[in-house]
């Protein structure tokens, strides 16, 4: 596996990401803004499913999905660029997997809630009592993505290039 990491790290794009004066910082900025839009949208939907701001129609929160999609797109593209710069540092760290697991699980639950809960609310049906717990779980998963993302820097043990 180290051979693969080494090959990526010696690619022109990876070297440019590490050595260009602006490239890494620009990718970091886009990653942060993308994550803020994705998780921000996730937070507001989680709070609403938990029963807060209940006068607002839940199904209309789908209107925030374009902002979340834009954020996810920014986060993925910039994340791939950051990953290309230091693949060994990230991919040898289990915390990187925890970050992805948290964010993907949160995204899948939001998708499921949009298919199940949003039509129920639109039809005037009450949500099941456990929906609040699902909303809270989603909030924890979104914030878990933040925790693992920040811990990446402090838990990496393998650095093949500097």
């Amino acid at each position: 596996m180290n051979d693969v990491f080494a090959a990526i790290e010696q690619s022109p794009f990876s070297i440019w990401m590490r050595e260009d004066f602006y490239a890494y910082f620009i990718a970091l900025i886009f990653h942060s803004i993308g994550m803020a839009l994705l998780i921000g949208g996730g937070v507001v939907i989680s709070l609403r499913v938990m029963g807060l701001a209940s006068q607002a129609r839940l199904e209309r929160f789908a209107g925030f999905f374009p902002a979340m999609w834009a954020g996810a797109g920014l986060a993925v593209v910039s994340g791939l660029a950051l990953l290309a710069a230091y693949p060994a540092k990230a991919l040898t760290n289990p915390v990187f997997g925890f970050k992805f697991a948290s964010l993907i699980a949160a995204s899948l639950i939001v998708r499921w809630m949009a298919r199940r809960f949003f039509p129920m609310e639109a039809a005037g049906e009450p949500l099941p009592p456990w929906s609040r717990w699902l909303g809270a779980l989603t909030l924890v998963l979104w914030l878990g993505g933040v925790v693992f993302g920040k811990l990446l820097l402090h838990t990496a043990t393998v650095l093949m290039v500097s």
């Binding site: 910082f25 921000g40 949208g41 507001v44 129609r57 209309r60 979104w142 914030l143």
Partner: protein, 176 residues
């Protein structure tokens, strides 16, 4: 020579009250960073989404109801302010002269003024709107300025480590 701030005295104060020790413990700085980002998530998740709603996104979501989530954004702001203060007093030389921090604080002040304008001129009209009604142009502009400020704050925060050494950027310091 800085005629305004004394970074050594600020750091000594942080040591005296214990903040420096907490921040320089093994997990102090990472935990403060995590709490700082929690604050940003709640800020963008409530105030930022309210801004997007005023700008025309998610038509049909009652702005009056959505505004009830803003206290979570205020709590997020307080988390950010508290941890941000802890960062600065624990390494004042790295932050006080840093153009990224100066920009960040300026954008926060601008967001505060923008918020005051919203509550003084527009919030009543917004509360009276039906969920399907679009926000007036003034509210859209306020929402855009607010969101731009907060995304700018995130951008400036990421650029803190870009400016090294920070002392080089002190505009009010006399040459040593």
């Amino acid at each position: 020579m800085d005629p305004i701030f004394n970074p050594d005295a600020i750091e000594q104060w942080a040591k005296d009250v214990g903040i420096f020790g907490v921040m320089n413990s093994q997990w102090g700085w990472p935990i403060a960073e995590i709490i700082h980002f929690f604050g940003i998530c709640f800020l963008i998740g409530t105030v930022g989404m309210f801004d997007l709603r005023m700008m025309g996104l998610a038509r049909g979501v009652s702005m009056k109801a959505l505004h009830r989530l803003v206290p979570f954004g205020v709590a997020g702001y307080l988390l950010c302010a508290t941890t941000g203060f802890m960062f600065i007093v624990s390494a004042p030389g790295q932050y006080l002269y840093n153009p990224a921090i100066q920009t960040k604080l300026s954008l926060m002040a601008l967001a505060g003024i923008n918020m005051a304008v919203f509550y003084l001129t527009t919030s009543r009209a917004i509360s009276a709107l039906e969920p399907e009604e679009p926000a007036p142009m003034r509210a859209r502009l306020i929402g855009f300025i607010s969101l731009a400020c907060w995304l700018g704050v995130i951008t400036a925060g990421r650029l803190v480590t870009f400016y090294r050494p920070p002392e080089f950027w002190c505009l009010w310091c006399a040459p040593a």
